[in-house]
Amino acid sequence: MNGAFAASLARFGSVALFLLRVLRACGPALARPRLIAHQVYNCGARSLIIIMLCGLFVGMVLGLQGYDLLARFGSESALGVAATLGLLKELGPVVTALLFAGRAGTALTSEIGLMRATDQLTAMQMMAVDPMRRVIAPRFIGGLIAMPLLAAVFNVIGIFGAQLVGVTLLGVDQGTFWSQMQNAVELSDVNEGIVKSLAFGVICSLLAVYEGYNAVPTAEGVGLATTRTVVASSVMTLVIDYMLTAAFLKA
């Protein structure tokens, strides 16, 4: 028990130190926008379809559940507000982060892990190229850029999904749906979601590159590292989500 605690503490410390190394490598990496653009494509554009599909269905479910709940209080007219706030503040950033961990995070981990296993990272070091700058930092920054954009797409699609169910299927008035929402939602609500998805972008990208970089250089080791990426990213996303929510409610 004590040993497990010490081990998880050590892991936290090692991730934090790795973050410092990544941040130090980010400066030089920013001078290579092409490398970063490539990673934005890998993390973002390639996850777009799954994000849009999931956003649609999450929004539709919100429309159904929200309607059912609000109708019990005779306030279906607040469906737009309820669905939008739910998406903006919680479901958008969180579900996007979970999907990101499963789609882009695993891809990053296994890619870097395989580069480790096939000596590509060592070979770079031998060519006097720092893999932190050439490989790790661009992927970290790419993930960081992609996350809020994916979450925004998720939210927009989700809102239209909720409208599809609420207005088209269940008969909530369209004008009410939008006008109630537009009057109740504030810029701070939108910003809260953006801040959250930026935080999730940091943690999910960081864990993905960390696990890949430190993967045991065998097929099994890379597989394990990939699993750890998903588990750790998901848990950390939810933990940080709670902390941020609490912080925003206090502010």
């Binding site: 653009a37 490539h38 934005v40 494509y41 973002g44 554009a45 777009l48 209080f73 005779g74 306030s75 279906e76 007219s77 607040a78 939008t84 903006l88 850029i145 992609a146 809020p148 954009l149 994916l150 925004a152 797409v153 939210n155 927009v156 409208q163 008035d173 369209q174 004008g175 009410t176 939008w178 006008s179 109630q180 929402m181 537009q182 009057n183 939602v185 504030e186 810029l187 609500d189 939108v190 979601g193 953006i194």
Partner: protein
């Protein structure tokens, strides 16, 4: 290098889409005007209320429970301290008597406010840019509760005390 090119285009499209979504969220949701409702297809009528409660832009206008149009603007007139509500009513409903009543009503107990129209008996009908003269303000729950209390207090003999509170 066609592979390179398509990758760049893909990245560009993705970033563009992402920022478009961000832009939509930040500008259209909080206080946005975009309602995805076509209000151009109606004739415009105004009504002046003492109090509209929290009647919102885009709220429906109904007659006998059927939607006939929607609210296109809610403004405050500082000359007579009244709320000026503009309604857009579908052209097919062109036989609404001009002495009809416009009431701000509430959907359910807690629901959103909307404008309900009770038809009058006049032979002339509302036309574009006309005004509904007879209006009834929103029921404000707090006032209602106060009235209820007052009536209750009056019955049990403490009405003088209660009345003295009111300016």
């Amino acid at each position: 290098m066609p592979a390179h090119r398509s990758l760049e285009i893909g990245t560009g499209l993705f970033v563009l889409l992402g920022f478009a979504a961000l832009g939509f969220l930040t500008t259209q949701l909080p206080g946005g005007k975009l309602g995805f409702v076509d209000a151009s297809n109606g004739y415009r009528v105004t009504a002046r209320f003492d109090n509209v409660g929290d009647l919102k832009n885009g709220a429906p206008v109904t007659m006998a429970g059927v939607k006939v149009g929607r609210v296109t603007s809610v403004a405050f007139d500082s000359t007579d301290y009244k709320a000026v509500v503009a309604l857009s009513i579908d052209r097919q409903y062109d036989r609404i008597p001009d002495d009809s009543w416009a009431n701000v009503e509430t959907a359910g107990l807690l629901g959103a406010k909307y404008v309900g129209i009770d038809p009058g008996g006049s032979e002339t009908y509302l036309a574009d840019k006309s005004q509904i003269e007879n209006t009834q303000s929103a029921m404000v729950i707090e006032k209602l509760v106060n009235k209820l209390f007052a009536a209750f207090a009056g019955k049990s003999g403490g009405s003088a005390k209660e009345e003295s509170h009111k300016p």
